[in-house]
């Protein structure tokens, strides 16, 4: 824990601070989104348990810092625009 400050009553005063924990390291398979095939339906965004697929001006974007590679996005994609690819060491 190093020099972290210990708050009275262990209160955590930094909302959303799990973002420091990059769960992308857990991934074995990486979802790769083919923007050409994507019809922007948003099901992958809706069903991601980790909230790491987000809408942007350039279509949906996968945040690989947090994606655990569960594969739900691939399975719910109606047009097979997402492919799970083995991460390379």
């Amino acid at each position: 824990m190093g020099n972290e400050e210990f708050t009275i009553g262990a209160v955590v005063r930094e909302p959303g601070s799990t973002k420091r924990n990059k769960t992308g390291r857990w991934r074995v398979f990486r979802p790769v989104l083919d923007q050409e095939k994507c019809m922007n339906c948003g099901l992958c965004f809706m069903y991601c348990p980790d909230g790491c697929i987000r809408p942007s001006d350039d279509g949906y974007v996968i945040d690989y810092d947090y994606c655990k590679g569960c594969g739900i996005c691939e399975s719910v994609c109606p047009v097979n625009a997402i492919e799970m690819v083995l991460e390379e060491g």
Partner: protein, 296 residues
């Protein structure tokens, strides 16, 4: 990007990534979706359970809203105190929500929940039901379904897994006279969000019970969470309905109910079942459908 067919769910994320839920966790998805429905002016009370543990390892938190964990069995009582304190402090526009697992709801937390409903607190109580004590490694709870294998209901010479049917908590809450009771499933996020929003708008206690597959506990691949949840609904193993001021309404009716076998065979926890056992579950599901349809 000419084709704008984005799903109409709120984009704001109030549960940050970086939490330690298993890959493909149905309950984490449930919590994330519920937060979208509840909005940022919400205090979340969470009893001990998977989502509590994985979202708040000091000094981190996944929560973007005020959040409190106290113990396993008292979330509804803690929420009762919060709701009244907000009233006393003149902050009545804040929503108080409980997000609790099935153990914290149907078993150890049931007394506090019953008290909360009976006293009429203006609280949204959401149960994310993964049908066993997943946080401690898959022990049976009162919400574990008939014949499911868990570490405390291992199929053997005597037992065929869990030997009692799933406790029907939504029905019990409805019997308290709660103004809003609904069931939902992570496979149907828009329905879930709609129901949680309704629960939030209702004056008084509202209860939403959400079925959430658990890849390690149910024994399926992390990518299959949504498919299996959908099968629960399509087979009638899990029925989506709501009870608004006593009015019962099925909110989703499969065009043709699939055989329960299609749901059961996809999960390790039901692998030990014989054709007879499956037939027995099919009959139970058929009867339940008849009963629920009769309520409409």
């Amino acid at each position: 990007m000419g084709n704008k067919r984005r799903v109409p769910i709120p984009e704001e994320e109030l549960m940050a990534p970086g939490h330690r839920a298993c890959a493909g966790c149905g309950s984490a998805l449930c919590a994330r979706l519920c937060m979208k429905a509840l909005g940022k002016d919400t205090v979340v009370v969470m009893p001990t359970g998977c989502i509590e543990v994985v979202t708040t390892p000091y000094p981190e938190t996944a929560w973007e809203v005020p959040w409190i964990h106290v113990a396993f069995e008292n979330a509804a009582a803690v929420a009762s105190g919060i709701e009244r304190a907000l009233k006393a402090l003149g902050k009545e526009d804040v929503t108080v929500a409980v997000l609790a697992g099935d153990g914290g709801t149907v078993d150890i937390g049931f007394q506090a929940l019953s008290g909360m409903i009976e006293r009429g607190h203006n609280i949204v109580y959401i149960c994310y039901d993964n049908e066993a004590y997943m946080n401690t490694g898959v022990q049976r709870s009162g919400a574990t379904p008939y014949f499911a294998a868990t570490t405390t209901t291992p199929p053997g010479k005597i037992w065929k897994g869990e030997m009692r049917p799933k406790k029907d908590i939504p029905k019990i809450i409805a019997a308290h006279g709660a103004p809003y009771v609904a069931t939902a499933c992570v496979s149907h996020p828009q329905d879930l969000i709609k129901k949680v929003k309704k629960a939030k708008e209702v004056e008084g206690p509202a209860y939403v019970h959400v079925l959430c597959p658990c890849p390690p506990g149910w024994g399926h691949d992390s990518s299959e969470t949504i498919e299996i949840a959908k099968l629960a609904v399509e087979t009638g193993m899990w029925v989506l309905y709501e009870i608004e001021n006593g009015e019962f309404r099925i909110t989703y009716r499969p065009k043709e109910r699939k055989p329960v076998k299609e749901y059961l065979k996809r999960q390790k926890r039901f692998q030990h079942l014989s054709e007879d056992d499956i037939e027995k579950i099919q009959r139970m599901v058929d009867e339940q459908w008849k009963e629920l349809e009769g309520k409409e």
